[in-house]
């Protein structure tokens, strides 16, 4: 019941937002609903409910291991959203607020979905609900980005539907009664028809990999993240990609139960390393600091995929990384949003010296950049360290070397762009007589809070979180103990 409430509360909030008459007070619905969601998630996290094995929607160990991170990220972004929408008071925000809340509800459904069809419906719902968020700025560039997002994302999601059908047919062909819950599919195990399982895995990996932004299906990401408001980028990078990642994890468990685990792991490892490489190379070339964040996101999705390929210990590290990456990326997107607003352009050709013009945002942006490139003692350092140790323990020496090489290249790329914008004599593309951007508490505190959480996760990872990740690993690897 509570699992359903996590979906219903935001959706009801979305309905209220759609009917709310006042443009100025409407954004307050975001933190109110976000807070309710965090409280409920936190309560269920501390006191995990019993999960009926045939439930379609439940706060199971995997949802417990990642959904709280998404919920926290949303709350902080929602607090930022109130100030952001005040700054952008010239634009109507009815659709924006309503759909942002709908995205939260659908994300909750997607993370908790234990049924192949329901999972697809929730993911497709998120994809569609995010569309008007992307073109909130209503510029031609924003529509172009939205169009590319729709075509690439739509094709990806269509392929994942085809993959779901194939997995369904694998079960039907193996004598299953058409029960498409993951539990039923896993229990059918080797009874699933092998050719169909492999076809399904390819299609589902391409489909949900597109949503996650794994290379070479990542092409929508730089455009979408580059043109969307910072708050939307933060939620897409920390929440929507996570739902696709949990989808891939749940499906991988079915494939492994069918006896094709090694193939699934090899493809995940290859596609993960390839994503890291592509992202690192593009990071060395891009001149736009918002697109830079998108490539950084592609890189971190690659890291998650590599973690998922390394068995129990790697998966625990990947779940850790979902938290550290989501929160740190949130810091970067929100502070980058501030800088972008003050500077009037996202390109390092037009913007310099933001350390003088927006000193606080620039300081957070630089610190966040170091955090995301795995500088200790921030969270990403520890999750990536844990991941490399899992890889070395598993005998993946070459993969670890490629992994670390890509991280180094990405570090060069990120520092190049970030210091190009922050340092030097101030120069912006903003009109001199335009409204000046003021760094109020409302736009500084949220990214700072996220940065603090990333630091806290690194310095003292709470034992209960480690226990939650271990429980999720046990759910996905029922036969072996991590």
């Amino acid at each position: 019941m509570n699992a359903l409430l996590l979906v219903i509360i935001p959706l009801v909030g979305a309905g209220v937002a759609a009917l709310w008459p006042n443009n100025r007070t409407r954004p307050w619905l975001l933190p109110i609903v976000g807070l309710a969601h965090v409280v409920l998630t936190g309560w269920m996290f501390l006191d995990p409910p019993e999960v009926a094995s045939n439930a379609w929607l439940a706060f199971d160990p995997l949802a417990r291991a990642v959904l709280p991170a998404v919920s926290l990220l949303f709350l902080v972004c929602a607090a930022y959203g109130v100030t952001y929408l005040q700054i952008r008071s010239e634009r109507p925000n009815r659709v924006f607020v309503a759909l942002l809340l709908a995205v939260l509800g659908l994300l909750s459904a997607g993370h908790q979905a234990r049924h192949l069809g329901l999972l697809w419906i929730a993911t497709e719902g998120v994809t569609l609900a995010a569309v008007p968020l992307l073109h909130f700025n209503a510029t031609p560039r924003a529509y172009e980005a939205t169009w590319k997002y729709l075509l690439v994302g739509g094709t990806g999601i269509a392929l994942s539907l085809l993959g779901s059908f194939c997995l369904g047919y694998a079960s039907l062909h193996g004598g299953g009664g058409g029960d498409l819950t993951f539990v039923a599919l896993m229990s059918q195990g080797a009874g699933l028809s092998r050719p169909w399982v492999l076809t399904a895995w390819v299609l589902l990996l391409v489909g949900y990999g597109t949503k996650m932004g794994l290379a070479p299906m990542h092409t929508w990401k730089p455009d979408a993240y580059g043109e969307a408001p910072g708050i939307v980028g933060a939620i897409l990078a920390g929440g929507v990609t996570t739902v696709a990642f949990t989808a891939i994890l749940r499906i991988r468990a079915v494939i492994a139960a069918a006896g094709e685990g090694p193939i699934a792991d090899r493809t995940l490892l290859a596609i993960g390393l390839f994503s890291m490489l592509v992202a690192a190379l593009f990071l060395l070339g891009t001149r736009d600091f918002k697109r830079m964040l998108a490539y950084s996101s592609v890189e971190h999705m690659g890291i998650l995929s590599v973690g998922a390929a390394l068995g129990g210990p790697g998966l625990a590290a990947a779940l850790f990384h979902v938290w550290t990456n989501g929160l740190t990326k949130g810091t970067l997107f929100l502070s980058a949003g501030n800088i972008r607003r003050a500077a009037g352009s996202p390109s390092m050709d037009q913007v310099r010296g933001m350390a003088v013009l927006t000193p606080r945002s620039a300081a957070i942006f630089v610190t966040g950049m170091f955090a995301v490139t795995a500088l200790p003692p921030f969270g990403p350092f520890f999750s990536e360290l844990q991941l490399v140790r899992a890889a070395l323990a598993g005998g993946h020496g070459t993969a670890s070397a490629v992994f670390l090489g890509c991280l180094l290249l990405a570090f060069f790329g990120l520092t190049r762009v970030v210091f190009g914008i922050v340092d030097g004599r101030p120069r912006t593309a903003a009109r001199a007589n335009g409204k000046r951007f003021v760094e109020t508490a409302g736009v500084i505190a949220p990214p700072l809070v996220l940065l603090g959480m990333s630091l806290w996760l690194g310095l003292c990872t709470p034992e209960i979180l480690r226990e939650a990740w271990a429980a999720a690993v046990a759910q996905l690897f029922p036969t072996s103990t991590p």
Binding site: I121, E124, H135, P140, R141, W147, L162, F165
Partner: protein, 214 residues
């Protein structure tokens, strides 16, 4: 019953080729709309022994949605945008057709590798589905203009629908209606964006969408 169904699937596959060879937007939309209607009839033929209201509903919704509503919306968008009705392809019509024909042959060959249940053994559903998905891809990649790309996307979705017919007896109604709802909403969202692009760029030629690149 298998013969009738295979005939319909064969017709749908022929419409794929027609769509690939269409040099005018109205005929592309027409081909897609006919294909949608054929698809709507298929569940009725497949399950003619135990027809019930839910099957009727699905068939009706499919025929109305894929065959009437969506094509009407696209035609309206076409007229509103006042675009050149001649399609300008990235991939020419003859190469598109050749790709489509090769895709159809590949689809038949590929489907040999996939085992089917005895009751589906004689059906062309799997090759039909793969061929439509490939046709959709060729149109998505090979056409420059937004509405043609939408048609490609819808043909791709038709292919997935064909495949879904294999599971018609085993999937619960909730799932099916959820999928149907998502697809419908998706088309509406695409429609809205097409409209916005038309206003922002004064054109539906996606070759003008080139501001965002490295």
């Amino acid at each position: 019953m298998n013969e009738t169904l295979n005939l319909l699937i064969g017709l749908a596959m022929g419409l794929n080729l027609l769509a690939l060879g269409s040099s005018r937007l109205p005929s592309l939309i027409q081909a897609m709309s006919f294909q949608g209607m054929l698809l709507g009839l298929m569940p009725l033929i497949m399950e003619h022994e135990h027809l019930d209201w839910r099957l009727g509903l699905i068939a009706l919704a499919t025929i109305a949605g894929k065959g009437v509503v969506i094509p009407t919306l696209l035609r309206r968008a076409m007229r509103a945008a006042n675009i050149d009705r001649e399609i300008e392809p990235f991939i020419g019509f003859v190469p598109s057709l050749l790709l489509g024909a090769a895709g159809t042959i590949a689809a038949v060959a590929l489907s040999q590798a996939l085992p089917l249940l005895p009751e589906h053994a004689g059906l062309l559903l799997v090759p039909g589905a793969i061929a439509s998905v490939l046709t959709g891809f060729v149109l998505l990649i090979g056409r420059a203009e937004a509405i043609s790309q939408v048609c490609g996307y819808l043909i791709l979705e038709n292919g997935i629908y064909l495949f879904g017919l294999l599971l018609i007896r085993s999937t619960p109604l909730v799932v099916e209606s959820g999928i149907l709802l998502d697809v419908t909403v998706g088309v509406f969202v695409i429609g809205i964006i097409v409209d916005r692009i038309q206003r922002a760029f004064d054109s539906l030629d996606t070759r003008k969408l080139t501001a965002l690149r490295e």
